[in-house]
């Protein structure tokens, strides 16, 4: 299992477009990926509407948990995606 945290730098936060792209990316891997915003229960990273409803804003820190056969590659790809887009 791999875990890492990321602090959002984008002004609007995880809005519809990046959320959609993140879901697309995660679906490309077999590992199970969850996202957790402090004080809220973790959501499955392939659940677009739940992901949006976390209301992740600029400055918020989210925790990713990745578990599965391709967890190393998935975690790396997600981290790169977050750095490039959010």
């Amino acid at each position: 299992m791999k875990e890492f945290s990321y602090t959002i730098k984008d002004e609007i936060g995880i809005h519809a477009r990046p959320a959609g792209n993140l879901v697309k990316l995660v679906k490309g891997f077999t590992s199970a990926v969850t996202i957790e915003k402090e004080s809220k229960p973790a959501v499955n990273a392939t659940a677009l509407m739940k992901l949006m409803s976390l209301g992740v804003k600029c400055g918020d820190t989210v925790k990713f948990t990745v578990q599965g056969d391709d967890e190393d590659a998935a975690a790396k790809a997600i981290e790169e995606f977050m750095n490039a887009n959010l």
């Binding site: 519809a16 477009r17 697309k24 659940a47 677009l48 509407m49 949006m52 409803s53 804003k57």
Partner: protein
């Protein structure tokens, strides 16, 4: 004749027959079913059809309204594919033994409620998207198609509110205008309509829908937000003339767009636009203004029920600068007073508000408010060509205080490692006779002057702007006012500053020549006056 009022989102006039938009799924009946597998299959088939339709709409929107506005339909496709959304539909069908339409409708309510209850305007607006995709899904099950019937005649579409996909699905060639009972000027519908260059009146109220029927003659005036149903002859004639004027203006626009503001003998002047909110940027660009000469920042304070935060202000300022892509944007700091009250400022009632506690006087007395605004402005300065302008200046010491505050803010931002433009231009309004008279002392301190002719006239002639009885005493071309402007222009230029005019006189075409002879560098007017002013400038010969 009946008149309704709403918010006009695209300034033009349309005259034509009403066509009432038929909502596809007003209420969905709950039916008990025996074969859940069959219902789930119906959902799957409808989903495939819906995705196909949305892909087509996305393609159409890409061409008509551009990538940013078309993006919403790509997101709709992703939302339709959402696991939780689909799981919810499936489990309602299986556990409750109900029809697919009802399961979608309940799921739609639950998910849209989830977004509607979030404390973020962007996410709240997503509730409408959930309802939109759900309605489409239901329509795909019941009719096999989500598109409503169309007629051959051009019509004015009347609806409660239009979902984004509905706006784009409509055959643009057959729509003269939109009128909706609900909605805001920020809804997708309003934005898309604006981009499609179709006049629309938003939020006329539900009475309208009760009284309108297909085929009623209507006039839609996007300038004023008025809707006339079964207009009388006089109104019809008046608006037909207004429509003809619009068409003439559009031709003027076509001819003058992209041309320089230069006289026959080569004197150039900048023509900028005055606006009071982010929503007017579209008309600034549509009228081909070279920049924004006066952006009134009050709207941020008026729209809010408490002091807007630095972050809120920053986002708004940045949006303006980015929308203007590198063109000059001059933002005037807070200009309120007893005549433009804001409750939470808790200002005392005054006998004579025009001469009272207002504008820069409030900012210098309550530096915490001023500093928040300046921090937001300087942070935004990294995203375009910003100018900051201070209102109601009467003395050298006021300007020095403002500049000191700017320096403090810049120093703090630099310490925090936050980007800003070190060369952000700083200017002051010349709207008191005092400022004009000592303009030789003020000019060395700043980069530019901007003459506010409305206040300058009121203060110079001692005539209250609000008092209609004084109208015959207010000579807007009074020599005293013109001399003060000329003096300010001379002093600006001698001290390396530039000077603009942002009051109503800037749009007075009978004074354009006078101003150009004074050496005025920039004229800032309401967006609709930009092109008529350009035409005037291009007809002048100064030598």
């Amino acid at each position: 004749m009946t008149v309704y009022n709403g918010k006009g989102v695209y300034s033009s006039v349309a005259i034509g027959k009403a066509s009432v938009f038929k909502r596809r799924s007003a209420s969905v009946p709950m039916l008990k079913i025996d074969d859940p597998a069959k219902e789930i299959e119906r959902v799957e088939n409808a989903k495939a059809l819906a995705v196909e339709q949305l892909t087509a709409i996305h393609g159409k929107a890409l061409k008509e309204v551009g990538e940013t506005n078309a993006e919403i339909f790509e997101i709709h496709i992703m939302m339709l594919d959402d696991e939780d959304y689909n799981d919810s539909i499936r489990s309602i069908i299986e556990n409750q033994g109900v029809n697919a339409e009802y399961a979608v409708s309940v799921t739609s309510d639950n998910f849209s409620e989830m977004f509607a209850s979030m404390d973020d305007a962007y996410m709240q607006a997503r509730a409408a998207d959930v309802r939109d995709i759900s309605n489409r899904l239901i329509a795909c099950m019941t009719e096999g198609s989500a598109e409503s019937g169309s007629s051959d005649e051009k019509v004015i579409v009347c609806a409660d509110d239009l979902a984004p996909s509905e706006t784009v699905s409509l055959d643009k060639d057959k729509v003269l205008a939109f009128v909706t009972a609900y909605g805001s000027s920020n809804s997708h519908t309003a934005i898309l309509a604006r981009n499609m260059n179709i006049p629309a009146i938003i939020g006329v109220g539900e009475e309208f829908l009760k009284n309108i029927s297909d085929g009623d003659l209507m006039i839609v005036d996007g300038h004023t937000g008025e809707v006339f149903v079964s207009p009388d002859d006089e109104t019809l004639k008046r608006l037909e003339e207004k429509q003809a004027e619009d068409i003439k203006k559009k031709q003027l626009l076509q001819e003058l767009k992209g041309k320089e503001n230069v006289t026959l003998d080569g004197t150039e002047v900048k023509i900028y636009a005055n606006i009071g909110g982010v929503g007017s940027i579209g008309s600034v660009l549509a009228n081909d203004a070279g920049g924004i000469g006066l952006f009134r920042s009050e709207f941020l304070y008026l729209e809010s029920d408490n002091y807007p935060t630095e972050e809120q202000q920053f986002i708004a300022y940045r949006k303006v600068l980015e929308s203007m892509v590198g063109k000059k944007v001059i933002i005037r700091t807070l200009d309120i007073g007893a005549d433009k009250q804001i409750d939470y400022f808790d200002l005392e009632k005054e006998e004579n508000p025009a001469l009272g506690f207002r504008a820069i006087r409030i900012c210098l007395t309550r530096p915490e408010i001023f500093k928040t605004q300046l921090r937001a402005l300087f942070r935004a300065s990294a995203f375009g060509d910003l100018g900051i302008m201070f209102p109601m200046i009467t003395s050298v010491s006021e300007v020095e205080s403002c500049l000191k505050m700017c320096d403090e803010v810049k120093k703090e931002l630099a310490e925090d490692g936050i980007n800003f433009n070190e060369d952000t231009e700083i200017g002051i309004m010349i709207e008191t006779p005092a400022a004009a008279v000592i303009s030789d002392k003020l000019a060395p301190l700043v980069d530019f002057f901007s003459v506010g002719t409305n206040d300058l006239t009121q203060y110079t002639l001692a005539c209250d702007r609000q008092n209609a009885k004084l109208e015959s005493f207010v000579d807007t071309h009074h020599e005293a006012v013109l001399r003060l402007i000329e003096l300010s222009a001379k002093n600006a230029h001698e001290n390396g500053a530039w000077i603009g005019i942002c009051g109503e006189l800037a749009a007075d075409l009978t004074l354009t020549e006078t101003f150009l002879r004074m050496g005025i560098d920039e004229l800032s007017v309401s967006p609709p006056y930009v092109l008529p002013l350009r035409e005037k400038v291009r007809s002048l010969r100064l030598k």
